[in-house]
Structure formats: C-alpha cells, structure tokens
C-alpha cells in the first residue's frame, strides 16, 4: 500500500458507486475455520452418506462403479498436472499435452476411430455437440435417436438442439428384444436427416446387433452415423469404427474415474480422419508436432481456429474448460490395463452381470431381463407379476443394506414396474447372490 501511496484498501474500490457497495451482513459463515475443523465438519457431514463402498449398490445408468487403481489417484494428484491450466504455453506444458494426446490416441484404439478430442463434459453433452456437429457438416437439421435412450441424455440433446432449430425424432424399438425398429427407422429417415444415432450397449444394457443395417441406412440417405458407447465394453464388443460410425461419443468416467455423486464425468468424442468432420469438431484437440528447429518432437493444441477464443461467435462450440484431468486419469487407467486388461474387464463384467441375470430369472414372478437378448453390464428386472413396485422392492433392499437398480417405471411406462440393474467387476459373487436372495425374500415374503 505504501508503494501505491494509499492508506486504505478502500481507495482501490473507490470507483464502485456508493449504492452498489455491500453494506449489509450476508448469511454465510462469517469467520473461516482452521483446517482441522473444516476437515471434521465436512467428514461429519459426509458420514451421513451411505456410499457404495459400504453398501452393495446395483446402479449404473450413465455413471458406473468400477475400481480406480491407486496409481491413477496418485498421478492425477501430481500437482504440476492438477494445478495447471489449459496448455496455452505448450513449451512449459508438454506433460499435460502429451498425456492428453495419449488419451486421445487410446480412445481411438478402443473405438476404432482416427481422431478424438481431449474431452467434453459428459456423454449427454458430447451427444448434444455431436448432433450439432452433424447438422453443420451436412447442412441438414434433423437427428434420429432411439426411443431407448437415457432420458437425461435425451433432455440435454433437446436443450442444445431446440434453440438452433434442430429437430430430434425418436425411432421405436422392437418389443421382443428392444433393438431398433428398422421399419420405423426407414419411415423416418430422409434427405433432411443429418445423422442417425444409436447406443451400444443401449441404455437398458442390451447389445444392439443391427449396426451394419443401421449404418447402411444412414449412408444410403447421406446421413452421418453416430454411435454412443460405454468404453469398458470395447475390449469385447466390436468397435464402432469397424461398423461404419462417423462420430463416436460416450462416457469415459468408468475408465479410471470415481462416481463422485455423478460428476465430474468424462465426455468422449471421436471421429474419422475426414477434414469435413475434424473442422467441425468441438473442443480441444492436441496434436503431435516438432520444435521449430525440427530437432525434437512435441505437442500443442491444434486447429484452434475452430474454438471460441479465436473464432468467437463463429466457433464450433463455446466449450473452454473441459474435463482434462479426468482424461488423464483415463489415459493412466487404459495404460495400466493394456489390451489384455481391457478385454478381461469386459469379460468379467459380462460374466458377472449374466450370473446376476441367471439368478434373478430363476425367481418366480420376476422377469430378468425384460428383453430376451444379449446384455452387457446392465439389464432390466421386472416385478409386475410379483405385484410389487420398484419403490417397494428398493425400500426393502435398503433395509437389507443394499441399493437396488434404478426405477425406470416412469421413463418407460410400457415396461411396467421395471428396474435397471448394473453389475461390474466390483460386485463379488457373494454380493450378487445376497442381492438375488434378498429379492426372492421380498417377492415371496420369506
């Protein structure tokens, strides 16, 4: 203050008009607490929660329980990474840039695509941005999506699509297996369709097998084919790049990120090596380059002329801060697992979830799954014949220290009292059996 020749800090605020200076007390804690008390306070509040680490929880639906290796936690706490910002100065940010380039590259390997950006906020916003991207690429304004989709994803898409006049239409599913109704697709697709979107595995856990047919239908009408994926399935499921996807979106949270009550998540976006697509891609993309004197390889942000800080109102998106550190976590996770690990993960999840299906389907008056087809990780369980609501079942399960599946009876009334269950590698055989036994007790009153 001496250097500035001021006596009071108020002098630096003198240009704020009197009437806007705050002169009343605010209803927030007035005085700060010492660290030890903050810790105690927050720990006490959090101890009111019953987390899935202490209570078997069979929930997925866009945020999945998987083990996060200690190495991942350690690396993302490296403060040079944690406390840095967007690598605007690449020479001093090579670490973050290389890690993100490696994340992009590994996403490409899993999805079978050529280019990935270094993250969107989550699957829902990645889908919304992909839809907008497709309409720009194609100069058309209609998007077809499946009827079986996470309602939050559909809502986010609508919120992003409506203001710019993008029309989103849902395609019906086949009653027996939930797969896309191709006849309905044919009746809705036209030369106004910018893209056809499907999910694999679907929101309700089944595997969509008509991918070639859907891709061909999209191509025949000059539309793009967008696929949404859970990347933990891609060790065993055909990568979308192999069946003609132009853009892949998905949720990479399960690759090394904790659930954190639903956020942050990690929106994944990848596309083919096609300048028409790449130029319209939203978000940050890291590229490999060399030093100016060409003596060394290095990394920097590329194609920044797509972005808001250069192009402003003409940018492909307004996205700036993204989920970079979550992408680093995923890169570490994929590197730890390697090809064998990611395949094993897929197998384990398939085996365990099918084990749960086999136990539940043996219980009288319980239908599991509703759709008779192959499932990965998640599946539907119906209680109509038992005369129970999901709410009642879940209440009873909670009494037995278990969290049942997600109630989807309001989302899909036509499926009756149905819940969406999720089983991954974190669920032990014993926990799965306990859950099935508890449901049997609840249904049959024993």
């Amino acid at each position: 203050m001496d250097e500035l020749g001021i006596k009071s800090i108020d002098e630096l605020y003198a240009d704020i008009p009197e009437k806007f200076r705050l002169n009343k007390q605010l209803n927030i804690p007035q005085t700060g607490l010492p660290e030890s008390e903050v810790k105690k306070h927050v720990e006490t509040l959090l101890s009111k929660n019953r987390p899935s680490s202490s209570m078997p929880t069979f929930l997925g639906a866009g945020c999945w329980p998987h083990y996060v290796p200690a190495v991942v936690k350690e690396i993302v706490q490296r403060s040079e990474l944690l406390t840095s910002y967007t690598p605007y100065q690449p020479e001093i940010s090579q670490g973050m840039l290389q890690a993100l380039f490696e994340y992009q590259s590994m996403v490409c390997e899993l999805t079978g695509m050529d280019v990935a950006n270094c993250s969107m906020y989550d699957w829902a916003t990645a889908l919304a941005e992909a839809a907008r991207m497709a309409t720009r690429v194609k100069g058309r304004n209609e998007i077809l999506i499946p009827k079986i989709i996470h309602p939050e994803r559909a809502s986010t898409l609508k919120v992003y699509a409506d203001p710019v006049g993008i029309k989103v239409t849902q395609v019906a599913y086949q009653k027996k297996d939930g797969h896309l109704d191709l006849a309905d697709l044919k009746s809705k697709i036209s030369d106004r369709t910018a893209a056809v979107y499907i999910e694999n595995p679907s929101y309700l856990g089944f595997i969509e097998t008509q991918v070639q047919e859907i891709a061909a239908e999209a191509r025949a009408h000059g539309a793009l084919f967008i696929t949404g994926v859970d990347p933990t399935s891609l060790g065993i499921l055909e990568p979308p790049g192999e069946y003609g996807a132009d853009i892949v979106v998905g949720e990479a949270q399960p690759l090394g990120n904790a659930m954190n009550y639903g956020g942050p998540l990690l929106g994944m976006m990848a596309c083919r090596d096609d300048m028409m697509l790449i130029r319209q891609m939203p978000g940050r993309i890291i590229g490999l380059t060399t030093t100016l004197d060409n003596t060394r390889q290095g990394f920097c942000m590329t194609l920044q002329t797509r972005e808001q800080h250069i192009r402003r109102e003409k940018a492909t998106s307004n996205i700036c801060s993204n989920e970079a550190l979550c992408a680093v976590a995923s890169a570490v996770y994929m590197a730890l697992l390697g090809p064998e690990g990611i395949m094993e993960l897929g197998e384990t999840v398939t085996l365990k979830s099918n084990y749960a299906i086999s136990l539940l389907s043996k219980i009288k008056h319980v239908r599991a799954p509703v759709f008779k087809t192959a499932h990965f990780q998640e599946f539907t369980v119906n209680f109509d014949q038992a005369g129970l609501t999901i709410n009642e079942v879940n209440r009873e399960l909670l009494k037995r220290q278990m969290q049942g599946g997600k109630d989807i009876s309001k989302e899909f009334p036509e499926l009756g009292q149905t819940a969406l269950y999720c089983v991954t590698e974190v669920h032990s055989k014993e926990e799965i059996e306990n859950m099935a036994r508890a449901i049997e007790q609840i249904v049959h009153g024993r």
């Binding site: 250097e3 630096l12 605020y13 240009d15 704020i16 705050l22 927030i28 804690p29 007035q30 005085t31 700060g32 660290e35 810790k39 720990e43 959090l46 009111k48 929660n49 019953r50 209570m55 690396i75 706490q77 990474l81 944690l82 406390t83 840095s84 910002y85 690449p90 020479e91 001093i92 090579q94 670490g95 890690a99 380039f101 590259s105 390997e109 907008r132 919120v159 595997i207 954190n260 009550y261 639903g262 956020g263 490999l288 380059t289 060399t290 100016l292 800080h309 940018a315 307004n318 996205i319 801060s321 989920e323 550190l325 590197a335 697992l337 090809p339 395949m343 384990t348 084990y355 086999s358």
Partner: protein, 513 residues
C-alpha cells in the same frame, strides 16, 4: 542481468505406445469367480458373434512401474500453480488448498452413485443445498443452480434462460440479439450463438468501459440481453453499471454477468445488487479449486426470482427435516448435462468457503486487487510497455499492458515476452487478449502471490525489456529452459502434417516410407 537458474525437466520420454513390451500388465482387476465361469458357460454364448471384437485393442502394454514413471516424467514437464507464479489473466490461478483434495477423495463421497436413495445421500445433499445458498448470498441472486460443468456451460445455461424467458413472454421471434462488448471473453459470443441468438458487438468507450450512449443506440426491440464482465477484462470496474442496467432493462432485455472476474468483488459488491438478472460463477477461479490442466471446473448460475422457474432439474430442496432432489419443475428448460453437476469440484468450493468465511473471502479479493495494482505500477515503468486506457484509475484483480512500443522499437512481441518469461520459471500472462489492446499482456497475480514474487516478476520483465533493446535474439528465440524449445504450431494444424492420434502418426509414417 543473469537469467535465473530455472531449467524445466526435459525427459526424452517416448509416446506411451513406444514403451513397454508385449504381454506386460500394469494392473489386475478382479476376475469372475471360478464358479461363475463354470455356471455361465463360455463368453461366446453371451456376446453375439457378429458383435464380438475380433482384434485386440491397440493399447500399450506396460508394467505398473513403467506407467508410474512415464506419467511422473510427464508431470515434471508441466507447470502448475504449485510450481510458481501463474499470472494468467482472466483465469484466476490462485493457490488450491490441499485439504480440499483430501476431502473430495473420501470414499464417503467419491463412491456415491447419483441415483442412490435420498436417505443414503443426506450429507452430500446438505452440502449442495448450503453451497447454493452461500453462492446466492455472495452474488445477490435469488436462486443458484449448480449443474453447469464449466464457466462456458454456465454461460450457455444463462443464454438459454434468456431464451426461456422470451418464449414464456411470446417475444422469442422478436428479440433475437444479444449484445456483447468487444472486450468480452470469446465464450460470450459463442454461448449466445449456441443459444440461437445473433451477436451484436458493442465497441468499448475511450476509457475502456461500456459507452452508455453507444449502448443506448445499440439496444432496440430486438435486444434479448447484454452479456457483461464486471470488472471487465481490462480489470476496470464498469462505473456506469447502474445506468447500463437501466438502459438494458428499459429496452426489455436481461443483464448477464460473466463471473470470470468475480474474485475482487466478494464481500464488497454483488452482481445482483447492480441489476444483473443472470450470474455465472467460475468455481475453479473464484473458489480456489484446481484447474486440472483445463478442467474439471464448475460453473453454477444464479438468477433473479422471475427466472428461477426455468432452471434445470433437479433442484435440491429441504423441507426442514430432509434434503431431496426435486424434479417437479414444469417450466424447467430440462437438463444441461447428466446428473447434478461437477459435485467433486463443488464439494471443494464448500470447504473453501468454510475455510475462509466471508471475512476471508473479502480479504482474498482485496489482496488480489492490491497485488494487481502493485504489479501494474511496477510494469508500467518497464521500457516498451504502456498501460492503455485510463492510467489514473485503479484496476481490480488484473491489469492489461501493451507491448506495442517494444514491438515497434525492437521487434519483440507479446508472445516473445511470454516465451522469455517461461525461461525464468514464471508462467506467462494471457496474451493478445482482450482484443481491443494491441500486443496485450493480461496480468492477474491473484491474492496468493507474495510481494517477493511480484518483485521478482517485475524484475524479470525489466530484464526482458533490456534484452529486447540490447540483444533481441535472446528473447526472439525463447524459450530455452523449458522441456522443449519453440514449437511449430503451424505444422501441427496443417492438413498435410496434422497428427491427432497415434494411429494417424503410424499412417503418416507408412505413407512416408
């Protein structure tokens, strides 16, 4: 002057695909129990053949220690707030308290699933509920929504709320324009466009602030709103904010507050009191959560009472006994993303506010202003730098200098200065922004810079100026002490050389050979 001893680690670290060896594994996840494998027959019957992956994914194969060393080396070739001064203007790179990381890592939080029964998540809901109230108090808004994942995401929500409001008034067809000053962040016009508005750019007045007369002629029956950063990107408080609010409101528009620069005002003034209808906050700036190399952040949005009904679902509500998520908001615009927002980041902000209290937040803002004015005073004395716009007025959290005279005299530009700063173990300021300042250097030291650090920064800037006038090649060829020297960013974006993934790299190599 002798340069500092700084030398960033410069590992010759291969791309991860060039490390390891076939068959190596860094981690073993649990497998299905043997009994399950026996009972569930083989995998082939579970996955339809046509959907089975036939090739192994081309991921690298490394042992655990190789993975750890690789990423540790990478981290050593990075620079964060914990490494040193990071005066990146508009980004508020303040210290990130360690206790908050510890709390967000607790399993009583991190393993919570967003769809768990309300009775099992009372603790986190209570935290979210109180955080909403606190942010609402601090910004003078009626209700705060925590859902947006970043500042720009908050901006998008804000502009969508403008739209929702117009739709409910039947004015959506008529009011198609959002006014954005020429000094605004790039996200502002981009967000307005995403929400379907046309952007009208408002030139700043000669004092760097909004020219109220120009605003008056800019507003019309087409105006949906004005997006404004206050203090603005020059670090100047918009003195006419009362008048600005009046003009916008009388024209029938809404006033949007870009919260990137909220830090200096905490506990001193509130956007809501100034007439702003919609306010976004950058949790990762103002409330001390780490930027993570570009995210995750969080961008809550506060609104005036009449706009509350349009906020995304769900809202956290409290009935006096229990907290719960309320989806019953018929006029809500819907969802901005899955679930409820970046809760791990929000939890850290809760702990931050608890640690500082109102007094601490106010003091933090004040010191950030003191630091900005101190560094401004030092830097404007540096030969070749000028302080555009009103030189008599105090700045708030940041100041913007121009290196135009230096460029004219020596050929050394803002980007050269930035690169030379890196050589001294200092991060560069934001450069070439705001666009209204030529050769701009936007310096935001934040409250967590000590005086000694600011003096060192000023001294280094002096030395760079001296070098520019005496041996400019030293500056023009910078950086020398970072992991790599100047990178070829043109090559990185050129369609012929652009390499955006390992597979593209292999493809390009095979074409070449």
């Amino acid at each position: 002057m002798k340069t500092s001893m700084y030398k960033q680690a410069s590992w010759d670290e291969p791309i991860i695909f060039n490390l390891g060896r076939k068959g190596r594994r860094g981690h073993r996840l649990p497998r299905a129990e043997e009994e399950i494998v026996k009972l569930i027959s083989n995998m082939d019957s579970l996955i339809p053949e046509k959907m089975r992956r036939t090739d192994k994914p081309g991921l690298p194969e490394l042992s655990e220690v190789e993975v750890v060393r690789h990423f540790t080396r990478l981290s050593e070739m990075n620079y964060g707030v914990d490494s040193g001064l990071y005066p990146l203007g508009s980004c508020t790179m303040k210290y990130n308290p360690k206790i908050n990381e510890l709390l967000a890592g607790l399993e009583t939080f991190s393993t919570l699933h967003p769809y768990q029964d309300g009775s099992t998540v009372q603790g986190i809901l209570e935290i979210m509920y109180h955080l909403e109230r606190w942010l609402s108090e601090l910004t003078g808004t009626h209700e705060v929504c925590l859902q947006p994942a970043a500042g720009a995401h908050g901006e998008l929500l804000g502009t969508l709320l403008m739209r929702a409001c117009l739709e409910s008034n039947g004015e959506c067809e008529k009011r198609t324009e959002v006014i954005v000053p020429d000094s605004a962040h790039g996200t502002n016009p981009a967000s307005a466009t995403m929400a379907g508005f046309n952007v009208v750019v408002l030139p700043s007045g000669p004092d760097g602030c909004i020219d109220v007369e120009a605003l008056k002629s800019g507003v019309s029956e087409k105006t949906a709103g004005l997006m404004l950063t206050n203090p603005n990107t020059l670090g100047l408080f918009e003195k006419d904010i009362g008048e600005i609010a009046k003009v916008v409101h009388e024209a029938g528009g809404l006033l949007y507050y870009d919260g990137a620069n909220l830090n200096p005002l905490l506990g001193r003034a509130r956007p809501g009191d100034m007439g702003f209808d919609i306010v976004h906050m950058n949790i990762h700036k103002t409330f001390g959560t780490p930027h993570g190399g570009g995210g995750p952040g969080a961008g809550p949005v506060g609104v005036s009472e009449s706009l509350s009904k349009f906020l995304p679902v769900p809202r956290v509500v409290f009935d006096g006994k229990r907290y719960r998520l309320d989806y019953d908001r018929p006029q809500s615009i819907g969802k901005m993303k899955g679930f409820y927002g970046n809760v791990a980041v929000l939890l850290k902000a809760y702990a931050y506010i608890l640690s500082l209290g109102l007094e601490g937040l106010k003091e933090a803002g004040e010191i950030s202003v003191l630091n900005a004015n101190y560094i401004m005073k030092k830097l404007r004395q540096v030969k070749g730098l000028t302080l555009p716009y009103d030189g008599q007025k105090p700045r708030k959290h940041e100041c913007v200098l121009s290196a135009k005279p230096l460029k004219t005299d020596t050929g050394v530009t803002a980007v050269n200065i930035a690169k030379r700063l890196l050589d001294h173990g200092l991060h560069a300021p934001t450069i070439y922004f705001p666009l209204i300042v030529e050769e701009a250097l936007m310096v935001e030291p934040t409250e967590t810079a000590e005086k000694e650090e600011l003096d060192w920064f000023a001294k280094v800037m002096q030395s760079i100026s001296h070098e520019a006038y005496t041996k400019p090649e030293e500056v023009l060829e910078a950086p020398h002490n970072t992991a790599v020297t100047r990178l070829d960013e043109v090559k990185a974006s050129h369609p012929k050389t652009m390499t955006l993934s390992w597979r593209m790299h292999l493809k390009r190599q095979s074409v070449r050979t």
